[in-house]
């Protein structure tokens, strides 16, 4: 069985449309970010988050009223299945709060407010209090981790392939990170530690996809030196299309299972992965190779000249023997 029998779609023709679409999504994301600010979870912004389990069902509004006097923009939402009566209450970092003693005050005051509001009895299932020092530290480390991972992967691909491919792969990956962030904005997810972990996983995944195609391009360039690069790339994308779609599909399925059954705590993580998998596949097919072609053309003038492989020297030793044996 095959999904695509001798697929031969002209993906390269659509490259400018694809780039435009991506730009629209990313810019819309940026616009929302500027309007509403980056929705940092308490891991990064500091603050208090409580998961409270009530003995009987309560309405969100009642709980909102109970914590309203605490000031700040408290968030109250359902946590997990409705039958569990679990609510998530999130309080922002108190303005001008000193480190230390004040750190616990938010949670203590919230619990006090809930007790005195005449709600059913409750138990605190989860309490997270993050001070501004830790929040700022995690922010710095999160940004650092994403950027260094992008840089390290670019270097690796630049080393294994050629520079323009490295740039293509990294633009595609950066694209996935930004598109994922945009969708997190659209669907009002907070950026938590888990979400950053998912974004880092996406960088690895997205590059994976791209490498598979680039590997094929390199292989095809060796046998078809006369063809223009854009044609070789398009052919390579088509040859690997079955694999790209199947892999994306199965990864999507397993992440979907995580999203549906993984519980509330992993919801943000699973959502980020879902968006990232789709975006990663799309960028692999439409963005990565397009960028590689555009860069090669600009650098080398004539496409044919640019299409020539970087030379036999770049071929890995031992590969020829293997191929000889294989045929």
């Amino acid at each position: 069985m095959e999904i695509f029998h001798n697929a031969n779609y002209d993906f390269i023709r659509w490259r400018w449309h694809a780039i435009t679409l991506s730009l629209v999504i990313v810019l819309a994301g940026f616009a929302m970010m500027f309007m509403r600010g980056l929705p940092l979870g308490i891991d990064f912004s500091g603050g208090t988050s409580l998961v409270v389990r009530f003995s009987q069902p309560v309405t969100l509004d009642k709980v909102r009223d109970a914590v309203a006097p605490l000031g700040g923009e408290a968030v109250v939402q359902q946590f997990g299945d409705a039958s569990e009566n679990r609510l998530l209450i999130r309080l922002p970092q108190q303005e001008g709060a000193e480190e230390g003693t004040a750190l616990e005050q938010g949670s203590q005051r919230a619990e006090q407010a809930l007790k005195s509001a005449g709600l059913p009895s409750f138990e605190v299932d989860n309490r997270e209090i993050v001070g501004p020092v830790i929040g700022a530290d995690l922010q710095r480390r999160g940004i650092y981790a994403v950027l260094t991972s992008l840089a390290a992967i670019t270097i690796y691909i630049g080393f294994r392939f050629r520079f323009s491919f490295g740039v293509g792969a990294i633009v595609a990956t950066l694209h996935d990170v930004l598109v994922t962030l945009a969708f997190l904005m659209f669907f009002k997810y907070d950026i938590s530690l888990n979400v950053v972990a998912a974004i880092l996983t996406i960088t690895g995944y997205s590059v994976n996809d791209t490498i598979v195609i680039f590997d094929r391009v390199r292989e095809n360039l060796r046998s078809r030196r006369k063809d223009p690069l854009s044609q070789v790339v398009n052919q390579s994308v088509n040859q690997t299309l079955g694999r790209t779609i199947i892999t994306a599909g199965t990864t999507f399925l397993s992440v979907l299972a995580l999203y549906l059954f993984g519980g509330e705590a992993l919801r943000g993580f699973a959502f980020t992965m879902l968006v990232g998998v789709i975006s990663g596949t799309y960028s692999t097919v439409f963005i990565a190779s397009a960028i590689a072609i555009i860069l090669s053309q600009h650098k080398g003038g004539k496409p044919q000249a640019a299409a020539a492989p970087t030379g036999e020297a770049s071929e890995r030793p031992g590969r020829k023997q293997r191929r000889a044996r294989a045929s």
Partner: protein, 517 residues
């Protein structure tokens, strides 16, 4: 060829056996993180400035004493901040230098008009800070052990002055936090006057002009004090304590004369000598027992006391906690909480159930798809993915790696990666089959051509996972480690295990032209 195949099958069976042996039964062998087991994760900051301040204050006191004793004229010797002090109004520089030689080992000296300013040497300050954190760490370890927590973690964390404390299965978080943070500095000081209802009243008794060697301290917090104890009053007490925090030898649960809870403490030998002299000289005067800057109780000194005393007027809980903190010794500096994450055991249970459901659902979806799409060959993929998960579980139990909620996500992604490599290989084999050179050639070519692609994809994923390890704390580290192990074992299963299975099929059909793929 056959011998080679037998050897490969043997290796695979051995790996599977070892892995299963390593993690069965999983309830005992797989370590669960706080987010699954329930418990509390705390990050504290040691205020190392406290320790530097003590050092500077002591140096200032000593210098002032020796200058006075040697008759060297000065107008002022005082600490400016925890690491600096100044000497002013000197007349005889040589005489001063003769007395102040000691300070030069620890402080950098700079000349000023009529005096000097001293600043602690950076390397000395750093060493002192480091020692303070180490001491705090050891003290916290002793306290956590006294609390009786199973498998606690107490470790340095992040920045230099931070300490991570993880207490699995602890439900009374507030108490644990108090016990960990309590400085447990026990002091015995003379009471000048008191009690007063408020601080203002206390100051008024001295016409708002407190003697320089006195200070106002609060009594015990309201509500908990009963009988002849401090209540919520304030006291005017001497600044100097007859004993220091490290003079304590032991603390025990005990009862006072009215059979109420009390803490009985004993002093070390040299402290006992000093305390004996001190009490003898002050018979008839009131003395305060001060714990962490609060007056716990006041009693009149009836006679010479040497090595022991009692803290009375406390509740049973306070007694238990004070015994733990006093026994484990005083902290060298006070501490702040920077972060607290508490997970109740029921939420952890629910997360485990959700994680297992999600993993099984993900696996089931993938199995159905692979068998449907690749027919018999699909089983190869299923076997290699399952073996991958077994190896992952086995290694996690053997290393051991703590299983966290994001780690569960790592499992599911490992399934995804396993599928990816298999699909990559299978699609290539399909293409090679189309060139009609026979099944064996197609399988060989498929694996050979895809090998470097698999290396490249795994290396780039490994880069991302390693940086995640660098960035991550607790649960995220669990995710990163799971991902790394999954990636490495996937190379083995997708290439070695899967290929062996192809060889098994082909060994029975030497001249096969087709495959069920």
């Amino acid at each position: 060829m056959m011998k080679n195949l037998q050897w490969r099958i043997g290796l695979i069976v051995a790996v599977i056996g070892l892995s299963i042996w390593a993690f069965v039964p999983p309830e005992q062998k797989v370590k669960l993180g706080l987010d699954l087991k329930g418990g509390v994760h705390l990050v504290l900051r040691v205020k190392t400035d406290d320790a530097l301040k003590v050092e500077t204050d002591t140096t200032v006191d000593r210098l002032r004493d020796s200058l006075t004793r040697a008759g060297v004229a000065f107008s002022k010797v005082e600490a400016v901040n925890p690491t600096e002090f100044r000497v002013e109004g000197l007349q005889d520089d040589a005489a001063f230098r003769a007395q102040a030689g000691d300070a030069d080992a620890v402080y950098d000296r700079a000349s000023e008009a009529g005096g000097y300013s001293y600043r602690m040497k950076p390397n000395v300050a750093n060493q002192l800070r480091d020692e303070t954190v180490t001491q705090a760490l050891e003290t916290i370890e002793r306290r956590v052990n006294e609390l009786g927590v199973a498998e606690p973690i107490v470790a340095r964390y992040g920045a230099r002055d931070q300490i991570l404390v993880q207490l699995p299965g602890v439900s009374d978080v507030r108490r644990a936090k108090e016990i960990i943070r309590s400085t447990a500095r026990l002091e015995l000081r003379l009471v000048d006057q008191g009690p007063f209802p408020t601080r203002e009243a206390a100051l008024q008794a001295f016409n708002n002009n407190l003697p320089p060697d006195d200070e106002v301290l609060p009594g015990k917090s309201e509500g908990s004090g009963t009988g002849g104890t401090a209540g919520s009053a304030v006291y005017v007490v001497k600044k100097v304590s007859a004993v220091a925090g490290n003079d304590l030898r032991n603390a025990q649960q005990s009862l006072d004369q009215f059979n109420r809870p009390a803490v009985h403490f004993t002093l070390k030998q040299d402290a006992a000598m000093r305390f004996g002299t001190f009490t003898e000289a002050n018979i008839g005067r009131p003395m305060a027992i001060i714990l962490d800057g609060r007056v716990m109780s006041v009693a009149t000194i009836q006679g010479r006391i040497t090595d022991s005393g009692q803290i009375t007027g406390i509740t049973r809980e306070e007694m238990l906690d004070q015994v733990i903190t006093l026994k484990s010794g005083a902290l060298p500096a006070s501490m702040d909480y920077l972060e607290e994450r508490t997970v109740g055991p029921s939420l952890g249970q629910d997360s485990i159930r959700a994680g297992v459901t999600a993993s099984l659902a993900g696996l089931a979806l993938v199995v159905v798809f692979m068998v449907f799409y690749y027919k018999l060959t699909g089983f190869n993929a299923v076997v290699s993915i399952v073996v991958n998960l077994l190896i992952l579980l086995g290694l996690m139990a053997a290393i051991p790696v703590t299983m966290t909620l994001p780690g569960v996500a790592g499992f599911i992604l490992t399934i995804g990666m396993g599928v990816d490599s298999n699909v990559l290989i299978f699609e290539r084999i399909k293409e090679e089959l189309a060139t009609a050179r026979g099944a064996r050639a197609a399988v060989n070519a498929g694996f050979d051509r895809v090998w470097w692609t698999i290396v490249d994809t795994h290396v780039s994923s490994l880069i991302a996972a390693l940086l995640l390890l660098q960035f991550g704390t607790g649960p995220i580290r669990g995710f990163a480690v799971t991902l790394i192990i999954g990636l490495l074992s996937n190379v083995f299963t997708a290439v070695f295990v899967s290929r062996t299975m192809f060889e098994m099929i082909l060994s029975r059909r030497q001249q096969a032209q087709t495959l069920s793929i």
